[in-house]
Structures are given as structure tokens and as C-alpha cells.
């Protein structure tokens, strides 16, 4: 066998390189599966109307910011077409689902505090202007100008007088009128004095947030305090899981008729780290604390600027965008409603994947048998099947590269692509073989492969043309299908089909020589 000659063909080398890359990518990046396969909760949000890319990006960012700040870990918000948003929540815990649903269906509340005194409320912000980015010696400076109403201007001047250098604490969805139940360790973090002019965090949260330190269970003093707070608070937030606050205490409070929620955060506080910002932010909704930079505020002024610095332009833009989001109270540029919800148990997801693998394997075996029966040659059957598998591998490789999550429609797309791939292989093979036995002897094998390619290309062009609009049209639900189909067809046309053509040419020439 002069197999070496085949392996030196450019098309075959290209195929081998692409395949190796795809396999490496899959091995290193892994394939992300959509929640419909891995299990989880999907919330489908409908926008009021079709929006442009910018508005879509703003909307998803605001939702993501709100979910992140409220401590819901592992939620991904992504655009789904041009008038829908998909919120993917890992896991199927009903409590989490409820929290997410609540956040998604409520308007956010913005508040700014200076040393624990309310300075600006979200509804006082009249306008937020586009950010300004300027480059300076030490990097990039960003500014977000905003306008508040005149009453608020007077109030802000009052509160901020003499506070230059103090932080302005910007909260989104601060847990107002609530009692935070914490253990000693977390309480220490809340009361730790930062190095700058700022007060300990506990004293910056506003007067309507109370603290209770609990060790094992509630002491009689605790109970008295809770009783006295009853009309003042709307809910009790227990911070941390049961290694922080035992369930016994939780039960006691529930029995007292209090509305109790547990805030569990996967990020734990390190013992030696006194001031763990992310953790505190999560609990209190504190998003940012720019420093006040005004000596003597003018009560008549209604225009203010939040500013900051960053090393790169991208960072500056990102930080400014974040501040804009906060100042707008997380108000969405377009109204949304929850249009639908799916809960898929992880067990079902893996069962489905298992079934697909079995079905795929069985389909390959039966299709191979049929092809082998038709051509009576394993050295034709094997390349045909290998080509089909290669196309699936290449599509998965690309999916791994661009971190595309494989959901059910995407898998259907791969199946569609493989199907047309096998069809193309059959066309090429027949073109070469039939000519062999019948009159078309004068035509060289290469010519025959070429004429088969006319049909193959035409078929591919039809599929790609009909699927491309689907991939771009903002059809959320069928996009994955269209994209994997197109990728599969391209993988076939540019990589595997040429290699297969060369292989079959080679095999036929070998046959002739014998």
C-alpha cells in the first residue's frame, strides 16, 4: 500500500490538522452543555418589543448586575434572539428559583449613603448622562455625570458638607428594614474599622438595618430584642449556612412568627482577612463606594459626577457602565415579563445525553451495515463513517473554542449536518464507482470526483443559504440548530469532503493497479 502518498496529500494533511485541533480543543476546553441537558432552571423573559443590540446588552447587564449583587451565584443572563432573554440558573432548588423570579420581576432600588445617612434616593436621580473617558498620565479616567432634582440637591449639600474624602456608599436593593443575624466572626468583619476615613461598614448601612449576633441558639436577651423589633423590621436575614448559624436558632425565630430568609454565599470569609469586601457587598447590596471629592457643596447645584480611574480604556468603560447601571436603579430600558420557565432535573439531562449516545452509536452501526452491504467494501464504508464522525467532532471543537453551550436544538443541528454529510459521501462514491463499471472509462477518477463535487456544493449552498438567516434573525429558539447545521456543513465542504474525495481517488487507483 502506498498509504504514505495519500497521507502526503495537502487535503488529507489539512484534515488531520483540523481534526487534531478539534480534539485538543474538546479535551482542553470541554463541551459546555446547555441547561436543558445538564439540568437547571431556565427563566424565559420576554421584552416588551424588539430591541437593538445596545439595548439588549444594557438590559442583560443590568439584570446580571442585580442578580450578582443579590448574591444569587451561578446565574447567567444572556440575550435570546432580539426580543427575549434567557436566564439560566444552575440547580433546581425551588428557593433559589423563587429568589431569581422575584429579582427579575421587581424594579431595583438605588440609594447612596454618606456615613450611614441617606444622601440620594434612586427616584431623585433625574438623568444619567453618557460616560466621558479621558486618558491621562496614569491611565484612563472615567466620569459619569448625573442630575438630581432640586430638593435632592439641597439635601445632598446638607449631608455631604464637611465629608470630603468619605466614601459615598451606593447600594442597589439594600436590605432595608431588616435584621441581619450573624455569627461573631462576620460581626467582626462588619465592625472592623477600615484604614481610610470610612466608618466600619455596620455604621454605613443606614439606620433601618439591625444586627444580632448569635452563637448557638437564642438567649432570652435575644428574644426580648427580637420582640421589640417586631414592628420595625420586615424580615430577618440569616447570614451563612448552618455552620455559621445553627438551624435551631432559625427555627426559634420562625416560631416567633418572623419572616426568615437564609443568605448562603459560597464565598466564605477567610479568618485572617479582616475586610472581605465582596462578601459584605453581596449581603448588603453595596455596589460601589466612590470617595466624595467636594469641599463645600452648593445647595443649588443639581449636577454631580462620579469619577474613577482605570488602567485600560476597556476597564474604564466597564467601570463607568457599572456606575451608570447603579444610578439608574437597575431600571431596565425595556419592560420585561416572565414568559416561561423550565425546570430540568440533572438526572433527566444526563439520561437524555446517555440516550443520545446510545442512539447515535446504534445509528452508526446500522448505517455502516447498510453502506457495507451496498458497496461490499469495508475500505469504503470506514472512510464514509469516519467522515461523518469527523464532522461532528469538528463542530464540537468549534463549540468548545467559542464556548457555545450545546443544547438540544444544537445537537439536532449536528445530526442534520451528519445526515447530509453521509449523503454527500454516497454521491461522491457512486460517481466514482459507477463510472468504473460502466462506459465512462475515459474520464479520470479525479474528474469524476470533481463532477460529484458540483452536486455536493449545490446541496451545501442550499442548506447554508436557508439556515444563515435563521442564525442571524434573532430567533432565539432555533438559533443553535441553524448554527451547528451551518458549521457542520462548512466542516464537510472545506475539510472532510476534500479529504474523502482524495481518499476515494487513491483507493480507486490502487484498485486499478491490482
Amino acid at each position: 500500500m502506498r498509504i504514505g502518498k495519500l497521507l502526503r496529500s495537502g487535503r488529507v494533511i489539512f484534515y488531520i490538522v483540523v481534526m487534531a485541533t478539534a480534539i485538543l480543543l474538546i479535551a482542553s476546553q470541554g463541551i459546555k452543555t446547555g441547561l436543558d441537558l445538564s439540568g437547571g432552571t431556565l427563566v424565559k423573559l420576554e421584552l416588551d418589543h424588539v430591541v437593538d443590540d445596545k439595548t439588549m446588552a444594557d438590559t442583560t447587564r443590568i439584570l446580571q448586575t442585580r442578580l450578582d449583587t443579590l448574591g444569587v451565584v451561578g446565574v447567567v443572563v444572556r440575550p435570546w434572539g432580539t426580543d427575549k432573554i434567557l436566564v439560566e440558573v444552575a440547580g433546581i432548588d425551588p428557593q433559589r428559583e423563587e429568589t431569581v423570579t422575584k429579582i427579575l420581576s421587581e424594579q431595583g432600588v438605588y440609594e447612596a449613603f454618606i456615613d450611614g445617612v441617606l444622601a440620594i434616593k434612586g427616584n431623585e436621580v433625574v438623568r444619567v448622562d453618557p460616560e466621558r473617558i479621558t486618558s491621562g498620565l496614569s491611565g484612563f479616567k472615567w466620569e459619569v455625570p448625573f442630575v438630581i432634582n432640586s430638593d435632592a440637591g439641597v439635601h445632598f449639600a446638607e449631608v455631604s458638607t464637611g465629608k470630603k474624602g468619605h466614601p459615598v456608599d451606593m447600594f442597589l436593593d439594600r436590605p432595608a428594614n431588616s435584621l441581619l443575624v450573624v455569627n461573631q466572626k462576620i460581626y467582626d468583619v462588619f465592625t472592623a474599622k477600615p484604614e481610610d476615613l470610612a466608618l466600619p461598614l455596620k455604621d454605613r448601612l443606614g439606620p433601618d438595618i439591625y444586627f444580632l449576633v448569635v452563637a448557638e441558639s437564642l438567649t432570652p436577651e435575644n428574644v426580648t430584642m427580637l420582640e421589640s423589633l417586631k414592628g420595625k423590621i420586615v424580615k430577618v436575614l440569616i447570614i451563612g449556612d448552618d455552620t455559621y448559624i445553627p438551624t435551631a436558632a432559625e427555627k426559634q425565630m420562625r416560631d416567633m412568627g418572623l419572616r426568615v430568609e437564609r443568605v448562603v454565599d459560597e464565598r466564605k470569609i477567610e479568618a485572617d482577612k479582616k475586610y472581605d469586601e465582596t462578601y459584605l457587598r453581596t449581603i448588603t447590596g453595596l455596589l460601589d463606594s466612590p470617595t466624595l471629592n467636594i469641599e463645600k457643596p452648593d445647595p443649588k447645584s443639581v449636577e454631580y459626577v462620579v469619577e474613577g480611574g482605570a488602567r485600560s480604556r476597556d476597564d474604564a468603560i466597564q467601570q463607568a457602565e457599572r456606575i451608570k447601571t447603579i444610578l439608574r436603579s437597575g431600571a431596565l430600558p425595556v419592560a420585561t415579563t416572565i414568559g416561561g420557565k423550565s425546570v430540568i432535573s440533572p438526572l433527566l439531562g444526563s439520561e437524555f445525553v446517555r440516550q443520545m449516545l446510545i442512539a447515535g452509536g446504534a445509528a452508526i452501526i446500522f448505517v455502516s451495515l447498510l453502506i457495507a452491504f451496498r458497496y461490499k467494501h469495508w475500505n469504503i464504508t470506514i472512510p464514509i463513517i469516519m467522515t461523518a464522525l469527523s464532522e461532528a467532532t469538528i463542530v464540537l471543537g468549534i463549540a468548545a473554542l467559542i464556548h457555545w453551550s450545546m443544547d438540544m436544538p444544537s445537537i439536532a443541528g449536528i445530526i442534520a449536518a451528519i445526515g447530509t454529510g453521509v449523503n454527500d459521501q454516497i454521491i461522491i462514491t457512486d460517481e466514482v464507482l459507477v463510472g468504473e463499471v460502466e462506459k465512462d472509462r475515459r474520464k479520470s477518477v479525479g474528474k469524476k470526483v470533481q463532477s460529484a463535487f458540483f452536486i455536493v456544493f449545490s446541496a451545501a449552498a442550499t442548506i447554508v443559504t436557508s439556515m444563515t438567516p435563521l442564525a442571524y434573525m434573532g430567533l432565539g429558539s432555533l438559533k443553535g440548530f441553524a448554527i451547528t447545521t451551518i458549521l457542520g456543513v462548512f466542516a464537510g465542504i472545506f475539510v472532510t469532503r476534500p479529504a474523502y474525495g482524495r481518499t476515494i481517488e487513491f483507493l480507486m487507483k490502487e484498485e486499478k493497479k491490482r
Binding site: E46, K341, L347, F366, D440, P469
Partner: protein, 286 residues
């Protein structure tokens, strides 16, 4: 005598009757019966449970009384290939509260089950409907354009496009007949069908119009050998898929494509062949 020889030698005007009768009967049935919309297109809640054996009438009456709603259907599913069982409960769109009730009932009856719950509000369903129709129309137009560009002759191009259209009409008619709902998944199947359908038609048309060797009948026979093999492999794969899966999604996708491909055999090798022969015999003029 070879079956292919026999078919090719028949008077195609007589053979035409078969696909036309099928088209007319399925078309008329579809026109009167319409096609059922899946819950994702009309709105509703579907609970799917895997790996359980159920008494569907008991579950149905339990859930009806639980929700106080009459529009509850329970289907028990069974995989032909693996013997695995499952259940699917279709309900009108439920609120979170109602969903929880049903979920609690299911976990109480069947333990820690492999399940999924899918709720689509009526408005979202409407929006999906729009997407589905748009997708089909656009894919079809895209296909038609490319076909015209490839062949640049009117009648052969129209023949290919017509065959794809007939495939789709017949397949939707079949769905109507067997109560298979039109859902996002079956729409995906219909989109695939457009691709599979034109594959064989392009093969046929290219061979007949672009090759000069052999008689027209011989060229048709050659194309038919290849084309039947193509459709055959697709059918084998789909039948396996249908037999192995207990997932309603996969089963519906597979069964729709099985029928679609079967319809395509008739339409390519009788309807399209007939039209092409007629075109060539008239001297290949437009």
C-alpha cells in the same frame, strides 16, 4: 427484471397519480383537521417524568382534582428499543404555586424522579409561533433562490422547489393525521427536511441535465440508485433514533423526518422525475 428498470419504463403520467392522490388526500385532511400546536407554541405547562411506570388515568384524575382544571392530558411513553417508560403530563399554563403542587405530587408518587417541567406563557407561545413560521418561510425562500441560481432554468428549478413544498405539506398532513403537534422541535425537523429533500432533487436534476452520456432513462436510473441509498441511510438512522429514545422530543423529530423522507422518495423519483422527463422530451426549452 430490475425494479429500477421497471419504474423508469413506466408511463410517468400514470405514475403521477400516486403522489398526487397522496398529496390531495393529506392536503385536504390537513385543511379540515388543522395541525395541533405543541405546548411551546400555544402556551402551557408540560411535566415529563422518565423511568417510571404509571397508571395514566389515575394520575390524570389526581392532577385534575389537584388543580381544579379539566384540560389535563397524561401520556405514558414507552421506548420500543429499550423498553424504558416515561410519562408526560400536559396542562394549561400554570402559576408557580400550581407548578409546585404538581411537582410535590409527582415527587410524592414517584420519589426522586428524573423530571422536567416546562411552562410557556401564551404570549411567549405566540412569539415562538411567529419564529417558527418565519423560520420555515425564510429557509424555504433561501432554498428556492439557490436552486434557481444553480440550475438557471425555470421548469427544472420549479420542479425541485415544488417537490420540497409537497414534501412539507404531506409531512404536516401526516402530523395532523397522527396528532403529532407542531412544536419548535418538529419545526426543526421540517427545516431538516428541506435540506434532505433538495439533496436528492439536486442530484437527479444535475445528472439528467448536465451529463451527456447515456440515455435520459439511464441517467435517471443512476441518480435513483444513489438517491435511494442516501434516503435509505437517513431512514435507517432515524428509525434507530426513534426506537431507542424515550424522549418525546427526539421521537417526534424522528417520526416526522421518517415520514418526510418517505414522502420524498415518492416525490423525487416520481413527481420530479416525471416533470424532468417531460421537460427534456419537449426539447429542454423553457
Amino acid at each position: 427484471m430490475n425494479i429500477l428498470d421497471w419504474i423508469v419504463e413506466q408511463d410517468y403520467r400514470k405514475l403521477f397519480i400516486i403522489p398526487m392522490v397522496l398529496l390531495a388526500s393529506l392536503g385536504i385532511f390537513l385543511a379540515f383537521n388543522g395541525v395541533r400546536l405543541g405546548t411551546d407554541l400555544k402556551g402551557g405547562t408540560v411535566l415529563h417524568v422518565e423511568d417510571v411506570s404509571v397508571d395514566s388515568s389515575k394520575v390524570e384524575s389526581d392532577i385534575k382534582s389537584l388543580l381544579g382544571k379539566e384540560e389535563v392530558t397524561v401520556l405514558s411513553l414507552r421506548s420500543v428499543g429499550t423498553g424504558k417508560k416515561g410519562m408526560q403530563i400536559e396542562m394549561p399554563p400554570l402559576t408557580d404555586e400550581e407548578t409546585r403542587k404538581v411537582k410535590d405530587y409527582v415527587s410524592h408518587e414517584f420519589g426522586e424522579a428524573k423530571f422536567s417541567i416546562d411552562t410557556v406563557g401564551p404570549a411567549l407561545g405566540k412569539s415562538f409561533q411567529g419564529e417558527a413560521v418565519k423560520a420555515l418561510v425564510i429557509a424555504f425562500i433561501g432554498m428556492a433562490l439557490v436552486i434557481f441560481i444553480i440550475f438557471r432554468t425555470f421548469i427544472p428549478s420549479i420542479a425541485v422547489i415544488m417537490c420540497a413544498a409537497i414534501d412539507i405539506i404531506e409531512t404536516v398532513g401526516f402530523m395532523s393525521l397522527f396528532g403529532i403537534p407542531l412544536s419548535l422541535n418538529t419545526v426543526a425537523a421540517l427545516l431538516m427536511l428541506i435540506g434532505y429533500s433538495v439533496d436528492t432533487d439536486i442530484l437527479l436534476t444535475t445528472k439528467v441535465l448536465r451529463r451527456k452520456l447515456d440515455t435520459v432513462d439511464e441517467r435517471i436510473k443512476g441518480a435513483m440508485k444513489t438517491g435511494l441509498m442516501m434516503t435509505g441511510t437517513a431512514l435507517v438512522a432515524l428509525i434507530v433514533l426513534f426506537a431507542v429514545s424515550t424522549s418525546q422530543v427526539v421521537e417526534q423529530l424522528a417520526i416526522v423526518l421518517i415520514f418526510g423522507n418517505a414522502a420524498d422518495i415518492l416525490n423525487t423519483w416520481i413527481t420530479n422525475v416525471g416533470l424532468l422527463k417531460w421537460y427534456v422530451e419537449r426539447g429542454g426549452k423553457k
